[in-house]
């Protein structure tokens, strides 16, 4: 056992059982999976992805590049770092060979989102972040403080309880201050625009199976901040040497954190290999905890304080040396030393833990995402936020509204971190017009960083310059198994940009996104190219900072509320009567109403459509047309406005009349069609196709507001105000007469393309004599609150006539038999009214209207434009594929074949005695009677070209 008898921020009174790689272990609340494994002496955790090498735990936080595990219980979740999983009772995990497996069942976890607004967002609850948050909170600001750990303190958590009372008191004050939100277990993973930061909170993961069902397991916080203070700290970086990937090779600060935070002594014979003073405190504390420690430091001018401390606790120091390689398999057993800089091999030191420190990389991800510039600091060997930009304070750096403080800004001492946090908060508040004073820092001792660190990316060894050494074990990116040789192979291939080297080598593309490897890769690249790393730069810091599951990003947009489902007022009736539905945009529309067959099954679609179309053509049928877009147009210039947007004349329409109308874009291509009803001199209601309602209203508003602001016209959507029920068929007159006894329904009194007001079951209805089927038809419009009552009344009144509800499929067949196009199905934004054979809908009298000038463009006058035509398969049992290409020739042996167009609509028709289609065909109207061919399923299907109107070409049926 390597758990020490005392110490650490774990609850030793509670034992948690867990399973790793099939073996049972025990840990405590406060442990991570990594600390619990180390406490049980488990160092080998995973296997490398390409080379199959044993891998261990190299960090104590999100920068972990090695210890990838898969959780198996309570729910499978792949690709997690053992260092970021809080231990819970019953945890089952296994180490991964680089890749995990997704669950084969839906995730039962709840994920949600929450918007939050604040004056000041502080990211990171270490010393700088706590000072910043406290300063802002005491100024009365709305503050959000986010931190990825379950408790505040940041880097202090890895110490021997430094400032722990102070941290606790700050937290207590913050949580009791109104308007202050403290979010623990929350990682700010991306800075987007205008102070928008996304953060992922792991809310119940640490509870395991005990997590409450109703609680969102993870939450995306959508934080909109006026000012952002980044107190995100720094990540220690390693130094690269041969076999640096063995279990038991760890960052120095991680070794210290496991000792102080988790009470785990991760090794008994420890080598600390450091290029700077920061690792000495780890060495001393580990020695005091009972380990035999050797420090290897390439520098020779060691800090007197640390030299004395090492002597005091019995640490052997090897100045002027570095580690060039290791021994061991499942765990490190020793290190090879060499003199530095002379390079002569000197000794092998036995050990069971190797701690490494190559310096510190400020965590500048969010700053960089915010557009902040970075500059190389040769002394720290790291890229730092550039100070002096707008929004930058004295001790920090920033872009507009974003400031960096503490170790993230390059501060080294605790005192500087504390003071910097408070100062940045004061500066941020000042930008908000709030005068605030920095809170006083708690007293701290002197930091013992006395001598400059040595910037060293990789231990120098003999290397082949072309990078062809495939046995290289100097790993830069452990997760990608990418080595120094891989970098050199990239530069040898001529790559000069770190972005290209990254993609060539895959360094920095794994789950850890190169937190420990990215800068080293830049450094090695710079050295190989003989350029200054300050000029070479780093790769881009893209969000997310840590892995975010798709489930968390999806949030509640799943299952029934994945996407809005729009329904009409009559929807409950459709459900009750067994309708099958189809999605039309976001609408649910009845596709058809299948009946039970004699055998007890349901009618298939062809059978339903045959029955429904027969009813509409020979009796009476009704459908729910409420999804049509409807726009109320009012104002003294309403007629003039409509004259400008439609191709035909509307202003001459009299109240009580209805007109079919087509609107085009400026390019002359059809945008939409529908009917226009004149309600009064200054009021019209127009309809749009179901899918185009919002687009058309936006377009009309754009014209009204920007092109013709002088016109006195107002547009109001009334799509949901009205339920719309077409009643269709030769017997429809009887049904309307029955429900509206006061209405004269004779053809003379109520002619085609007129509308009348009438009461149906006492409800004021607008009834239009319009038809989308060619049959006598009435469109009944009532306020949608009464849609279902009026529908039921029509249905009841139609019973003596066998009234048949029909769906969109029957509607399509009926209209296609008459050659009525559907905008968006038979057109695609490249089709003019003339192409559809609808020159009659284009006014020759109007001086101008939207699209008019385009009709006379040479391109739109070409005789070989595609025209809408009908197609009759020679074999009338063959149903054409919608989208099938139309060919001039059935010989497809010579490629390419000339393609004349495509099938836009295709149906089986009872009325026509077989299948038929509509198509856009080059010079189609000149080809009527010709034999063409449709290409589908690898065969040519012979078809005859006809005019688009295949049924009732004389229009004899519209008046019944």
């Amino acid at each position: 056992m390597t758990r020490l008898p005392t110490g650490g921020l774990i609850d030793r009174t509670t034992v948690l059982s867990f399973t790793f790689d099939g073996r049972p272990y025990a840990g405590h609340p406060g442990d991570t999976l990594a600390s619990a494994l180390l406490a049980n002496g488990v160092h080998r955790v995973a296997t490398s992805v390409n080379r199959g090498r044993p891998r261990g735990i190299m960090a104590a936080g999100v920068e972990e590049a090695s210890a990838l595990v898969q959780l198996e219980a309570p729910f499978p979740e792949p690709m997690l770092s053992a260092t970021t999983i809080e231990l819970y009772e019953g945890l089952v995990a296994r180490g991964l060979p680089g890749r995990g497996t997704l669950a084969d069942r839906p995730d039962p976890g709840r994920y949600d989102a929450m918007h939050v607004h604040c004056d000041v967002l502080v990211v990171g609850a270490g010393p700088a972040g706590l000072m910043a948050a406290l300063t802002a909170a005491r100024a009365g600001s709305r503050v959000a403080l986010v931190d990825d750990q379950p408790m505040v303190g940041g880097s202090l958590l890895g110490t021997r309880g430094e400032l722990s009372d102070w941290s606790a008191s700050v937290l207590a004050e913050l949580t009791s201050t109104p308007e202050v939100l403290v979010l623990s277990r929350t990682t700010a993973f991306g800075y987007y625009d205008d102070g928008f930061v996304l953060a992922l909170q792991k809310r119940t993961d640490h509870l395991g199976a005990a997590a409450p069902d109703n609680a969102a397991r993870q939450r995306i916080w959508r934080i909109r901040a006026k000012q952002v203070i980044l107190a995100t700290g720094a990540h220690e970086r390693p130094v690269v040497f041969a076999d640096n990937d063995r279990p038991g090779v760890m960052l120095a600060q991680a070794g210290r954190t496991y000792l102080n935070r988790y009470g785990v002594l991760a090794g008994n014979r420890i080598v600390v290999f450091t290029t700077n003073d920061s690792a000495y405190v780890a060495a001393v504390e580990l020695a005091e905890a009972g380990a035999e420690v050797t420090v290897v430091d390439p520098r020779t001018d060691l800090a007197p304080f640390w030299a004395a401390e090492c002597a005091r606790v019995g640490i052997a120091v090897r100045p002027g040396h570095l580690v060039t390689g290791t021994t061991g398999e499942e765990r490190v057993t020793g290190v090879h030393l060499a003199a530095y800089p002379s390079g002569g091999a000197s000794a092998t030191v036995h050990c069971d833990l190797l701690l490494v420190s190559g310096g510190w990389n400020p965590t500048v991800h969010l700053f960089s995402q915010a557009g902040g510039k970075l500059e190389y600091d040769a002394e720290l060997g790291a890229f730092l936020p550039v100070a002096g930009l707008p929004g930058a304070g004295v001790l920090g750096a920033g872009v507009l509204g974003v400031r960096v403080s503490g170790a993230a800004a390059g501060a080294v001492s605790l005192a500087d971190c504390l003071a910097g946090g408070a100062a940045e908060a004061v500066a941020a508040l000042s930008d908000l017009g709030v005068a605030a004073r920095p809170v006083a820092s708690p007293p701290v001792g002197t930091d013992r960083v006395e001598t400059a660190g040595l910037v060293l990316w990789a231990a120098p060894v003999e290397i082949s310059l072309d990078g062809s050494d495939l046995s290289d074990t100097r790993f830069v990116d452990l997760q990608r198994d990418a080595t120094v040789s891989d970098v050199l192979r990239a530069t040898g291939a001529g790559l000069r940009s770190v972005e290209h080297v990254k993609r060539y080598t895959t360094i920095g593309t794994a789950h850890d996104q190169g937190k420990t490897s990215g800068l080293i890769a830049s450094g090695i690249t710079a050295d190989a190219l003989g350029v200054d790393i300050a000029d070479l730069g780093t790769t881009t810091f893209r969000p997310p900072y840590t892995s975010v599951s798709f489930a968390a990003l999806a949030g509640r947009d799943r299952g029934a509320i994945f996407d809005p489902v729009r329904v009409t007022a009559i929807h409950p009736w459709h459900i009750e009567h067994g309708a099958q539905f189809e999605d039309v945009g976001q609408w649910k529309r009845p596709l058809c109403y299948p009946r039970r067959t004699a055998s007890g099954g349901l009618e298939d679609l062809p059978a339903v459509v045959a029955r429904e179309t027969r009813a509409a053509r020979t009796g009476v049928a009704m459908m729910d047309g409420s999804t049509l877009g409807k726009i109320n147009v009012q104002g003294v210039d309403a007629g003039e406005f409509l004259d400008r947007i439609y191709t035909n004349i509307i202003s001459t329409l009299k109240p009580g009349f209805v007109r079919y109308a087509v609107m085009c874009g400026m390019d002359g291509m059809i945008l939409d069609d529908g009917t226009v009803m004149r309600v009064a001199d200054t009021e019209f209601v127009l309809t749009t196709t179901t899918g185009n309602a919002a687009k058309v209203l936006d377009w009309l508003e754009e014209l009204a507001q920007t092109e013709w602001p002088d016109l006195r016209v107002h547009l109001t959507s009334v799509t949901e105000q009205w339920a719309t029920i077409p009643v269709v068929g030769p017997l429809s007159r009887q049904v309307i007469a029955a429900v509206a006894p006061a209405l004269d329904v004779s053809n003379e009194a109520f002619g085609f393309m007129t509308w009348r007001s009438a009461k149906i079951v006492g409800i004021e209805a607008r009834i239009c004599r319009i038809s989308f089927s060619g049959e006598l038809a009435y469109e009944v419009n009532v306020p949608s609150w009464y849609g279902i009552a009026v529908w039921q009344a029509l249905f009841d009144a139609g019973q003596p006539y066998g009234i048949t509800p029909y769906g969109t499929e029957t509607m399509h067949v009926l209209r296609a038999e008459k050659g009525y196009p559907i905008i968006g199905q038979d057109t695609d934004g490249t089709v003019t009214p003339q192409d559809l054979g609808m020159s009659w809908v284009v006014s020759k009298k109007k001086l101008d209207f939207v699209g008019k000038r385009s009709f006379s463009r040479t391109e739109n006058q070409r005789p070989d434009r595609k025209h809408l035509v009908g197609l009759l398969p020679v074999d009338r049992s063959v149903l054409l594929d919608e989208g099938a290409q139309v060919l001039a020739d059935d010989d497809v042996s010579q490629l390419p074949v000339a393609m004349l167009g495509h099938v836009t609509s295709s149906y089986r028709s009872v009325a026509l005695g077989g299948t038929f289609g509509l198509a856009l065909v080059r010079s189609g109207r000149d080809r009527i009677g010709e034999r063409l061919f449709a290409w589908q399923d690898g065969e040519v299907v012979p078809v005859t070209v006809t005019g688009p109107v295949l049924y009732d070409q004389e229009g004899a049926r519209r008046d019944g």
Binding site: I561, G635, T719, E720, G762
Partner: protein
């Protein structure tokens, strides 16, 4: 029963798109309360607030129209919601729509303007309770803090994936009117109920 037998005096009952949803609203945690306000008369009003008709319109409504963007005004039984620089939504008691529409149209006369009955265009929900802001924050990017959105605030925005009008009705910003397009009402109701699965009452 066939339609011929329906007496014109016996009007059918209007049916709300949220008919049958109240039980689910009632099952929400106690920290929020949701109920539908059914069948209010709603009129969309377009008029130039500085034009000749504005005074006549104010007389009909008993109050000048709110001209400050994103605000509303209560005037007796009427609630006047700012929708745009020349556009308002007038909420009036059930059954009052026709009379008000006629009066407003008269007030506008031949001048620029429009009055459109949109009573059935939107469904209206009342949301209250200490967690109501928390509930909305799960899907709404607007800052509804009382300092930012005081009583009377009226914003048109997105909640979850649908357009909503939010009216702030009280000082503590815990009492709201929510108006949603009728075809989206059931989606929005389902979203609200789902969002209410976990509420702390804080935030």
């Amino acid at each position: 029963m066939t339609a011929e037998h329906v007496s014109p005096s016996k009007l059918p009952m209007p049916l709300s798109p949220l008919d049958g949803w109240q039980a689910a609203f009632d099952a929400l945690p106690d920290v929020v309360a949701v109920s539908e306000i059914t069948f209010t008369a709603q009129l969309n009003l377009r008029v130039d607030p500085s034009g000749a008709a504005a005074g006549a319109v104010a007389k009909v409504l008993g109050s000048a129209l709110p001209v400050q963007p994103c605000t509303s005004t209560r005037s007796g039984d009427f609630l006047l919601l700012w929708l745009g620089p020349d556009e308002w939504l007038i909420l009036a008691p059930e059954g009052a729509g026709l009379e008000l529409e006629t009066a407003l149209r008269e007030a506008i006369g031949d001048g620029p303007g429009a009055v459109t009955d949109v009573s059935a265009q939107r469904s209206t929900l009342a949301l209250s309770g200490p967690a109501s802001r928390e509930l909305l924050a799960k899907g709404c990017s607007i800052d509804l803090h009382p300092k930012v959105s005081p009583t009377g605030t009226c914003v048109q925005t997105l909640v979850a994936q649908t357009g909503i009008i939010i009216v702030v009705r009280d000082e503590t910003a815990s009492d709201f009117l929510l108006l949603v397009r009728a075809s989206f009402a059931q989606y929005f109701a389902a979203w609200l109920i789902d969002a209410g699965v976990e509420l702390t009452g804080g935030c």
